[in-house]
C-alpha cells in the first residue's frame, strides 16, 4: 500500500477532504452491524474508487480480506452459538462427537458484519494512502497539530511496507538462485523461512537506522515547514464533501428509521 502516481479524481482532492472521507467511512461502519447496510457502505466506497479510476488497486486487498473473512468465520462458528442452527461442523450421524460445533445464523452474521466493516475501512484507508503523497500527509497532520513523532512514525510505517516487500523479494530471488526450496509440511515451511527472515530482519534494522538519521538531517523536527505547492481546497473538494454528506445522511436516515 503506497502512493501511486496517477491523475485520478481522488488525487485531485485535498488531503483533508480525503481524511474526512476516511473518518466518515469509519464512523458509518461502526454505527451498525446490519450486513445489508455494511454491504451498501462497501459498495459506496468501491463505487467511489471506480469513479476515481482506482478500483483495480483496491482489488489487490481482496485476497487479504478473503483470508480474514474465513478466519473470522472459523472463529465465530467455534465461539458463537446463538441463533438458528444451520448445520454442524461434525455431522450428527458421527458417533460420540456428532453434533459438535453448530453453525448458527448468529455466528455467520457476526463474521459477515466484521468482514464487511473491515473491508469498508481498509478500502477507504487505501484510497487515502494511494492517492496522497506522503509529504502532503505530513503537511496535513502538521497543520492538524499532530505531534511530529506520531507523524514521522506514520511516515516511516508507510515507507517501510514497500521497502520490506522489495527487500523480501530481493532476498527471495537471491535464495532461489541457490536452488532454495521452502520444504514440505509445517516444519519444512517454518525451516524454509529462515533463509528469508534472517537477512530481511538484519538488513531492515540497518536501514531503519539510516532512515531515522535521514529524516532528522532533513529537518523534520525544525517546525519550519513550507509546502512546495499550495494545497487549498477547490471545487472538487466541495463536490466531494457534498457527495459524502448526501451518502452519509441517507445512510443515517435508513439506520434511524
Amino acid at each position: 500500500m503506497q502512493y501511486i502516481t496517477r491523475e485520478s479524481a481522488f488525487h485531485r482532492l485535498h488531503p483533508f477532504t480525503k481524511l474526512i472521507f476516511v473518518i466518515v467511512v469509519v464512523l458509518l461502519a461502526v454505527l451498525t452491524s446490519d450486513i445489508v447496510m455494511l454491504a451498501v457502505l462497501v459498495g459506496a466506497v468501491v463505487a467511489a474508487a471506480v469513479a476515481g479510476g482506482l478500483a483495480r488497486d483496491l482489488l489487490r486487498q481482496v485476497p487479504l480480506l478473503a483470508s480474514l473473512a474465513v478466519s473470522l468465520l472459523a472463529l465465530t462458528v467455534l465461539t458463537i452459538h446463538n441463533g438458528e442452527i444451520l448445520g454442524y461442523l461434525v455431522p450428527q450421524s458421527v458417533p460420540v462427537i456428532g453434533g459438535a460445533f453448530p453453525v448458527t445464523v448468529g455466528a455467520i452474521d457476526l463474521a459477515a458484519a466484521m468482514s464487511l466493516r473491515f473491508a469498508a475501512m481498509l478500502f477507504a484507508f487505501q484510497l487515502f494512502v494511494i492517492s496522497t503523497q506522503p509529504r502532503d500527509l505530513v503537511h496535513l497532520l502538521d497543520r492538524l497539530r499532530m505531534p511530529i513523532d506520531y507523524t514521522l512514525m506514520l511516515l516511516i510505517a508507510l515507507r517501510f511496507i514497500p521497502s520490506l516487500q522489495l527487500e523480501g523479494k530481493r532476498i527471495h530471488e537471491a535464495q532461489l538462485a541457490r536452488a532454495y526450496n521452502p520444504g514440505r509440511g509445517i516444519s519444512g515451511k517454518v525451516r524454509g523461512l529462515f533463509p528469508i527472515i534472517i537477512p530481511l530482519v538484519s538488513n531492515s534494522l540497518g536501514k531503519a537506522t539510516v532512515l531515522g538519521l535521514t529524516i532528522d538531517l532533513r529537518g523534520y523536527r525544525s517546525g519550519l515547514r513550507t509546502p512546495m505547492r499550495d494545497l487549498a481546497p477547490g471545487r472538487v473538494d466541495v463536490a466531494g464533501i457534498c457527495c459524502m454528506g448526501v451518502v452519509a445522511a441517507g445512510y443515517l436516515a435508513v439506520l434511524l428509521v
Binding site: T5, R178, N203, K207, L213, D216, R218, G219, Y220
Partner: protein
Amino acid sequence: MSPETGREIALSLRAVSYTYPGSEAPALNGIDLEVRRGEIVFVTGPTGAGKTTLCLAASGILHHEYGGALEGAVAILGKKVRDYRNMGEIGRDIGVVFDDADAQLIFSTVEEEVASGLENLGIPRAEMQQRLRDVMEAIGITDFADRAPHTLSGGQKQRVAIAATLVLGTEILVLDEPTAELDAEATGAVSTLLRRLAEKGTAVLIVEQKLNELATIADRMVLIEGGTIAKVGSPAEMMQDSVLRHPAPGNIRPPAPAAASPCGVPPIVSVRDLVHRYDGVTAIGGLDLEVAPGEIVAVVGENGSGKTTLVKHFNGLLRPTRGSVIVDGLDAGSVPVAELARHVGLVFQNPDTMLFAETVEEEVAFGLKNIDPRSTGEPIDAALSEVGLLHRKAAYPRSLSRGERQRLAIACVIAMRPRLIVLDEPTTGLDAREAARVMETLGHLRQDGHTIVMVTHDMLLGEEYADRIVRMEQGRIVGDRRTYEEGLCPKLCSISPGRAPFTASTRSPN
C-alpha cells in the same frame, strides 16, 4: 582561521578515537583532520579501515546517536558537536550522504524526495523551486522526476540520495561512497557539481574508492588504515602510492579465449529477440546475444540501461515478455529456477541479501545441499579455498568484512558448480586490493572452464579483465567488442561443454 590557507576551518576532528559497543578494537584511533571552507578532502583506504566510522564521527552521528567509547573533539563551523541539541540542528550545517542509498529514500516520487528537506528550511517557495530544478538538472534526474524511488536502479537511487542532500545547501558535506554505483557519466556530473560547490565555499569530506574519477577534484587526499590516518598529501603525490593505485591491466588477466565461431563450440547463452516489460516500462527492447563457453563477458552501461534485467533472465528470475533465452541448452523462459540453478550461478550485488547461516561453512553448504542433499564437504572446502576463505570456515558470515562477504557469496555459487557464473557489480564497495582479489578468482574460475558474465558500470574493470565488452543503452545492445586480438586459442576449444571441471581443490590453500 587556518594560517596555512587563510580559509576558515569548517570541520575539525581532534584526537578522535572510537570503539563500537561490544567491540574491543577501536574503529578510529587518534584521528586529527580538518576540512576548510572551499576544500575537498578525499578519504580512501582498504575495506574496513574505518572510513564510514570517520563519516559518522565527522557528522556528529557517533556523538548523538551511537553508544560506544568516543574520545576527542569534533567541531562543526567552530561549534562542538556536543553543543548541538540534536541531529536536526546538525543537519542545518552538514549534509550527509550515506553509503546505503536505498535506506535514504523515504518518499513516493523522486521530485518529492529531493524537495522533502527543502520544505523544512523555512525559505521562500520560489527559491525552493529554483534550487530543486538546478540540483535535479545538475545530477541528471529530471527525466525520472515522477517515478517512485524504489523502482529505480541502484545508481539512479544513489543520484536521488545525493540530490536530496545537495539541495539543502549546507556549508559542509560529508559523503560516504556516494558514487559507488554510478557510471562514469553520473560520477563526472557529481564531481563537477562538488567542485562547483567547493568554489562557492562548501567544505566537502568525501569517502570513496573511485580514485581515478574523483581524487582529481580533491585538494587533499587522506589514506586511512586500521582506524588511523596513514598518509596525507596532494592527489598527485598520493596517486604514486602503490597501495592506492588500481592494479595494472594484465597483471592477473588469464589468457584470452577463442571466439565461439572459429572453434565451432555452441554458445552457452543464446538470447533471441528478448523483450521484457514491467509496470508499463520496457526494460529490454528486442535484444540478441550469444556468449561462448569460457568467455569473460562484461555487460556495461549506464544506470538503468537494463543490465541487471538482462542477466536475471539467465537463471529464470525474470521470464521474457517476448523472445527466448537458452542457457546451457535449457529454455530459461520455462525451466524452473531451482533446475537452472545447477547451470547458472548468480552472485548478487549486495552479498547481505543472501547471508543467513551461522557459519561460513553452512552458508556455502546451503545451495549445495539444495541441489544435492548427499553432497560431502569436499566441494565446500574447494570453493572456500578458491576464494581464500578456508581459514574463516567457522566464522559468522555477517561478521566478515565487505570484501570477504563478497567472496563468500561467490563461493556459495561456485560450490554448486554451475557452468555459467553471473555477477552483478562484483566490485562495488570494494577497495582496489579486494576488487583485484575478486577478479583474480574469476580468472581462476574461467581457467577451470566456467563462463563468466559480469554486470558492471565500471568500464575500466571491463577493459582490464573481460574478453568482451557488451554495452547496453536503454534496454538494447549498442556495442559488442573484444578486448584482445582475435585469434585461435586451443586451450579453450578443448574444454568440454559438459559439467564445469571445478579444480580449486588442487590449488594450494590460503
